[in-house]
Symmetry: C2
Subunit: 302 residues, 2 copies
DNA sequence: GGTCTCGAGGAACTTCAGGTTCACCGGAGG
DNA sequence: CCTCCGGTGAACCTGAAGTTCCTCGAGACC
């Protein structure tokens, strides 16, 4: 019995397909078929019921899966704990959303450099749905993004939550004092890229209050901030990412009654026997996020 | 990472020697060296401190050993639970002491035949020290004997305890009524083979009462029973092994004040990744022993 | 009904991890 | 100083596992 075989078994069970599991494990479908057949022969039991339609676990297989997952998890844990950080090498491809870039990402990069001097980070700023797809398709190793995302085998690790506030340039003619959501909707709204999860929050925010006709502009966070400081409109942004603009007076927080929902950041990766780094870096990210929140107003970040 | 490598690591840690571990694992010392080196390279840490004197675990190695044992145990457990009994084949070499032969061994053989039809049992009756040595040297797979025995990697599983009573032939001129230990010592004493653990009990029994000069004869249990029924002397024997002789009146139990110590039976085997049968048969032996005790006077067997 | 597609399984060949053999080395001990 | 003992390193070998390619069976679609 072999850990790789158990891992293969788990992936076939998760994805209910030999060929998808093969793809995920970077091997051929025949190899997966062979591994499962070997396991079944070794144990003398049938793990999967196959027909041309799909692949299902047998009752014994369901049992076996639980055991197998425990063993593989324990083995991964062993590696993670025992491995010497200095000996880790290679490249980790990380997908990040802008919110992370503008909060604790620099700290994380610094800490990774210190802890794993021979590890190269390849950072890709993108939006959550793109990142999660890239992780599932093996183009990225780790995502730092909105969550959680539910997909077979995807580990979601919560990092922190950031409060969002409506902000505007002081130059913009926004009345002083408490604002209703309708007051906000009179201005152009600057939102995140159309297919991003954050864009959905903005649209949902107004829909819940029955407001339909809003003027929406979309852009990435950096551009958003720039446009907002330029007085193009209002934006709901995690306050921790615009500390400088608020301090300098380039942006001011608007006291809107209907609170904009906070966003939760997650680290995500596929648990793989031969890739110890993603969970380790996810752990560091959690540490960085916690440290970051501790140094901020608990109303803004927790 | 590979379960076989972890198992090798554990054995080197247990035996504190590469070559002994190699012997135990039926491979060459170079292979063991290679496996450890691979593990150490993979983890980037040193697991053992070697010098010409001996092999010791490093502090990190001590940590690793605990994790490794947990993983290997879980994997063995997985096999044991999932494996289809009907698919098990091969020969299991079992060492048994006579007490087991004369109590529940036939039941065990029957049950094994039913549960594992393709498994061949090779039985060897011997005394405890011989059996345990044969297990440690790989000449036997399982022992059913006195215990416990403490040796690295040896699993001791308690099965049952049998009370021992002094018995004699009614033909022998043993006075009726309660006997003192000194009364017993006046007769020739029939004991177990000199190097057996049971022989030690007999000698110790008299020594504790300060009795030195006893006439001792030694033989295996079967011969012992025969000699005792023939009136050669007295013997302290597990009552459950001489039920027939007592029922027929060939032997009678002597009411000796100083109780002879009961004996505990254990199943013993070396936990090995690729040998699922010994623990399974040990489990069946425990079941047989429990059933056997349940059908006897709880004062005789428990 | 023919045929197209999709996924599992099987056969033959290839690859490489891991094993074996053997020479070497360093310390202990006569 | 020599020898023994036990671990290491290197070269070569073996076999388990992987790859490639083919077959097969079951829908799905025309």
């Amino acid at each position: 019995m072999n850990l790789k075989f158990l891992e293969t078994f788990i992936w076939v069970a998760r994805l209910k397909s030999f060929s998808l599991a093969a793809e995920r494990l970077n091997t051929t479908q025949a190899a997966v078929s062979h591994r499962i057949a070997t396991l079944e022969r070794e144990l003398g039991i049938r793990l999967f019921e196959r027909d041309s339609r799909d692949v299902r676990l047998t009752p014994l297989g369901i049992d076996a899966r639980e055991h197998a997952e425990r063993i593989v998890r324990l083995a991964a844990d062993f590696r993670r704990r025992m491995i010497n950080p200095a000996s880790l090498t290679g490249t980790v491809r990380i997908g990040v959303i802008d919110t992370v870039v503008y909060s604790w990402l620099p700290t994380l990069i610094e800490r990774v450099r210190e802890a794993y001097p021979d590890v190269v980070l390849e950072l890709n700023a993108a939006i959550t749905p793109e990142i999660s797809e890239d992780i599932l398709d093996g183009r990225l190793d780790l995502g730092l993004m909105n969550g959680p995302v539910d997909a077979p085998g995807l580990v979601n690790r919560q990092l922190c939550t950031f409060a969002c506030q409506w902000v505007a340039s002081p130059a913009l003619a926004v009345p002083d004092g408490p604002l209703e959501i309708e007051d906000v909707a009179r201005f152009p709204i600057l939102s995140f890229p159309t297919s991003s999860s954050r864009h959905g929050s903005v649209v949902g925010y107004f829909q819940r209050s029955g407001i339909e006709n809003i003027r929406l502009h979309t852009a990435s966070l950096a551009t958003l901030i720039r446009l907002t400081t330029d007085g193009v409109g209002l934006a709901a942004i995690p306050t921790v990412t615009i500390e400088r603009e608020i301090a300098s007076g380039a942006l001011r927080i608007l006291p809107v009654r209907t609170e904009f929902p906070a966003i939760s950041l997650y680290a995500m990766y596929l648990e793989m026997e031969d890739r110890p780094l993603p969970p380790l870096i996810a752990q560091m990210a959690a540490d960085c996020a916690t440290a970051f929140c501790a140094s901020r107003d608990p109303a803004d970040a927790w």
